[in-house]
Symmetry: C2
Subunit: 355 residues, 2 copies
């Protein structure tokens, strides 16, 4: 069996290329994986030469340009054909790699994937999924919940929300090993009539879709309880909510920093509390989770956090390998296919009888 | 000068009528205000008879029905004409009171106000505003920010968002005494091109509207920093974000409770930290803030939290009196009128020249 090949954007994120190269070396040492690092060849080779790594596990693919966080993604992707993101996407598209990872501009990664990687047949929109820590009231081994979409789209239709549910459930079941993951719709009330027409229709569709363990609406106040494995929402809301949680976690950390400067009692208090507050603090600790998968493409694409350190990149590579090995794209494809057939059955029952 | 009259829904909230009556008595003792409590006359009089209060300051208006949190607001408002919410709204509408307060079902209060109280001329949609605590990076006397809409509407137009900005700024300037309040648009990025067509247009309109001190987009992660006095958003997003903050605050409290049961070091840590965590915890402490104003009606309507205690009701009455005394509705009316004239000037400059 050939090892899995992961193409990594060597120029993405605040600490590139150093953190990327170090993360790649870390991953190559721990797992049988082939890694292609794309970007400024000289800089990447210089970093590589400083570290031991398994023979032939890491190769460098030169790309003369890179895309910054400030650039307009659409313009950057079409203007910079030799950028590390575009080159990585093309390598993935050409079948020379099984998965792609970038800690660069989220918008540019989404645009590059949309341009070069085919969507899974039947998938109307792709979605960025992200995990966040919870109080885990369900007592799972895993205290994380998955939310999608958190920013690949601004808005979407009821049907697209149902597809997000299917893709999120497939990810949680296959990659996080949760059986029959509980799926909830983020809404402004628990009642099925809440949230306007789009949410009402999405609720009814989710309730009726076989293969989705739909538990109903979830409100913002219950997100951190960990009562649902998958939370489905539109990109605008998901992005805002995840950033709000991140801000709340930072507020706690900030109070901690203030404490360290001012009051001894707070300082001691925070030291004693450090484990208790971990759940909130870890919202910002992307390094543990291995990045946010971009779901709905035929190939695996993972967006790592812009502040990724070597551990985060290494974890992202590990998650990417698991997604390939467990055939996540195939599971999503089946799930979407079954869904489309169910819809066909519901709306064209006669067609079915003539089968 | 006649004292201000406030009509209070005696049957709304978890602790009605006891907490309502006690809050009314507390307010009547502290301020020259006339209070009409609406609801089950016997129960309210029984509570009243247990407490001393200024002669003639409190009267009871009998209403034989009440509306529960579970009822469909639209149906309840039209079916229960003798409910405490409907009766209170009618008393306000008839000019027998200057302001109304209810700790009952938010939806029902919004519906009753919409049915009986005229909107301020020019106001397209009313909005629920709520304050929340922040790290106050602007070093204001007041460490609260105001967010609207948090649930009177699900969605709204760009122009309605601009009106929310005007109403929120008027409230913060008049009632919270902040000069030239800073207004931000809640969005998924700081750039003015973010968030889809509606947000892009709203951004441009806010930038150009005289009388709004617009500081640009704000992301979820910066909400708790306290860098903006007014945050404008659609009801779905605002409701979800406020509830998410409430959930994060509860998570901190929950970790505290767990700590009390388990680890002594956590227990001591939390006791030492208690003031530092106050900022987060207080998100849920509505009793301090005196309720959420429903902005855009000709009369003052304040929605108190369902868990309101006497202090919360008393504070809501105090805020209501201030809104009446400072003529909040008049300020909002002027603000909206000026805005409409600016629009007229921009789109019909010829009309203006023929003035």
């Amino acid at each position: 069996m050939n090892p899995i090949t992961v193409v990594v954007d060597g120029m993405g994120g605040d600490n590139a290329p150093r953190a990327i190269v170090r993360g790649a070396v870390k991953a190559a040492k721990a797992n049988p994986v082939k890694i292609i690092i794309v970007g400024n060849e000289e800089a990447i080779q210089a970093e590589l030469s400083r570290m031991k790594h398994p023979e032939g596990a890491i190769v460098v693919h030169a790309a003369s340009q890179s895309i910054t966080m400030d650039e307009n993604p659409q313009e950057a992707i079409s203007a910079k054909s030799d950028s590390s993101i575009v080159q990585a996407a093309q390598i993935l598209s050409a079948g020379k790699a099984d998965a792609m990872i970038s800690a660069g501009s989220t918008g540019s990664v989404v645009m590059a994937a949309a341009k070069y990687i085919p969507r899974i047949y039947g998938v109307r929109r792709t979605a960025i999924a992200t995990v966040y820590p919870t109080l885990n009231e369900l007592r799972r081994d895993d205290y994380l919940s998955l939310m999608l979409d958190v920013g690949a789209n601004v808005h979407c239709s009821s049907e697209e929300l149902v597809q997000f549910a299917l893709m999120g459930a497939a990810y949680v079941a296959e990659i996080r090993n949760v059986e029959e993951p509980r799926v909830a719709l983020l809404n402004i009330g628990e009642e099925e009539t809440k949230g306007g027409e789009k949410m009402k229709v999405a609720y009814q569709m989710l309730k009726r879709t076989p293969g989705i363990n739909f538990i109903g609406n979830i409100e913002g106040k219950d997100l951190m309880r960990g009562i649902s494995d998958v939370i489905v929402t539109e990109g605008f809301v998901g992005n805002t909510v995840i950033k709000t949680l991140e801000g709340a976690a930072k507020t706690v950390s900030h109070l901690g920093k203030v404490a360290f400067k001012t009051k001894l009692s707070w300082k001691i208090g925070l030291m004693m509390l450090s484990k208790g507050l971990q759940a909130l603090k870890e919202v910002t600790d992307y390094s543990e989770y291995g990045g946010a998968p971009l779901l709905g493409f035929e190939k695996i694409v993972i967006i790592a956090h812009g502040r990724s350190n070597p551990k985060a990149i290494s974890n992202a590579i590990k998650v990417a390998c698991k997604c390939v090995r467990d055939d996540l794209a195939g599971h999503i494809s089946n799930s979407i296919k079954n869904y489309e057939m169910d819809i066909a059955r519901e709306f064209y029952p006669l067609t079915r009888e003539s089968d």
